[in-house]
């Protein structure tokens, strides 16, 4: 029903994407970053709790 000239249709057909170009989305999937971690508890146990932890464990050992 459409006034479609065969030549024009063929032209359009030939312009269609296949294997010539494609809308490419750069969806490369990267691995996560690794951040270095510090913890208050590390320092806390070393600096403040050291003697306390020691006394607790020695008490437990003594039992």
């Amino acid at each position: 029903s459409q006034p479609l000239s065969g030549r024009q249709a063929a032209e359009l057909q030939s312009k269609v994407v296949p294997s010539k170009q494609i809308l490419h989305s750069d969806n490369m999937e990267m691995e996560p970053e690794t951040m270095e971690t510090k913890s208050v508890t590390d320092y806390f146990s070393k600096l403040h709790m050291g003697s306390l932890v020691y006394s607790c464990t020695s008490k437990r050992k003594n039992k």
Binding site: Q2, L12, V16, S25, N27, M28, E36
Partner: protein, 408 residues
């Protein structure tokens, strides 16, 4: 009394961050900083964790600020290990902010100190970070132009080659240490670096290793990433059937993981792959699925891309009415999001289609202008542009070796 309360607040911050609630964790850490402490190592740990929390919250300016405080403090108290860690974190943050040169200096410092302390774990981590910075640097420069993977200017190639070397060095150490998780990460990013360098066979080998390790750990997100990256590499090897199989596995996992954005991406990749296989019915099927999710997520850019792809697929099938419909929708969306090149492409597509259909109406009179008026009057404001990170960096690419003229 003040000492104890700073510590208590910081401990609660740590607990919250570990439980995955960084936002609440940040409040407690900031309260701890407000209260203050004379113990500089404790303060350093608080700054470091605040920096990391802001990093995970994607507030990189804040992350930068706190990692910088941490670095200054670590240097002041002569804590070399603390300085190495702060430098590494600062490097990662600078990388995300696109300041690659400073990021390299910081990551190199992390590496140097780790070697000085004979800290193999730290050394490996610094090498991985350096690889990431060079990878980002290369990708960043590359995306400024329009290059296929493998067709790169020298500075891009140099940066990517350096990234590959750092990942290889990292792999040597973490393999010796028997750290499989770290090997998995390095293989994944090494694979992506080879992909950008155009070494698609090497990319496949690396991603296959990544896949193996992901399965070992039952890490389904990493498994999904590997499938997707394998699909991408097989596209450029011209093995579209294989690519479609990997993309289907990506889709399957995306659905299991209930990640709609990733599901949409997988549908889009499958649509493109079936276009390359010249199976336009299947291509349309997947592009329609992609379109539905893009609309659901209010991702205008994705929606525009879906319309462009659907227009092409329908044109290939000779269904010019549908092609016209999607070309008009593409034009409408390109205008909405201010995508000038998309707008131009859409106009050219429309004029081609109009010629074929023997229509002579000008775009001014067409229905899309009307529908835009209706949309705007309904809305009052411009619709918010939804962006999915994975789909932001779209570009037109030529896939076959022979250089064919662009039709946009």
């Amino acid at each position: 009394r003040m000492e104890a309360s700073c510590l208590e607040l910081a401990l609660e911050g740590e607990r919250l961050c570990k439980a995955g609630d960084c936002r609440a964790g940040v409040s407690f850490f900031e309260a701890a900083v407000q209260v203050g402490t004379e113990d500089l190592k404790t303060l350093s740990a608080i700054y470091s964790q605040l920096g990391n929390a802001y990093f995970y919250l994607h507030e990189y300016a804040k992350a930068l600020e706190y990692h910088h405080h941490d670095l200054t403090l670590a240097r002041t108290i002569g804590d070399l290990l603390g300085e190495a860690k702060a430098s590494g974190n600062l490097g990662n943050t600078l990388k995300v902010l696109g300041n690659f040169e400073e990021a390299i200096v910081c990551c190199q410092r992390h590496l140097d100190i780790s070697r000085e302390l004979n800290d193999k774990v730290g050394e490996a981590r610094a090498l991985y970070n350096l690889g990431n910075v060079y990878h980002s640097k290369g990708k960043n420069v590359a995306s400024a132009g329009t290059h296929d993977p493998g067709e790169l200017p020298d500075d891009v190639k140099n940066a990517l080659q350096k990234a590959a070397n750092y990942y290889e060095e990292n792999l040597t150490i973490v393999t010796k240490l028997g750290d499989r998780a770290a090997q998995g990460r390095a293989f994944g990013n090494l694979g992506n670096t080879h992909y950008l360098l155009g070494n698609f066979r090497s990319a496949v080998l690396a991603h296959e290793q990544r896949l193996l390790i992901a399965k070992e750990f039952g890490d389904r997100s990493a498994e999904r990433r590997a499938y997707s990256n394998l699909g991408n590499a097989y596209i450029f090897l011209g093995e579209f059937e294989t690519a479609s199989e990997y993309y289907k596995r990506t889709l399957q996992l995306a659905r299991q993981l209930k990640d709609r954005a990733v599901e949409a991406q997988a549908c889009y990749s499958l649509g493109n792959t079936y276009t390359l296989l010249q199976d336009y019915e299947k291509a349309i099927d997947y592009h329609l699925k992609h379109l539905m999710i893009a609309q659901e997520l209010n991702d205008k850019i994705g929606e525009g891309r879906a319309c462009w792809s659907l227009g092409n697929a329908y044109t290939a099938l000779g269904n010019h009415d549908q092609a016209m419909h999607f070309a008009e929708r593409h034009l409408e969306i390109s205008r909405e999001v201010g995508d000038r090149s998309g707008e131009l492409t859409a106009r050219l597509n429309l004029s081609d289609l109009q010629m074929v259909l023997g229509l002579s109406y000008s775009t001014n009179n067409s229905m899309m202008s009307e529908s835009q008026v209706v949309d705007n009057s309904l809305n009052g404001t411009r619709p918010r542009v939804g962006r999915r990170h994975s789909m932001e960096n779209m570009e037109l690419m030529k896939l076959t070796p022979e250089k064919v003229q662009n039709w946009n």
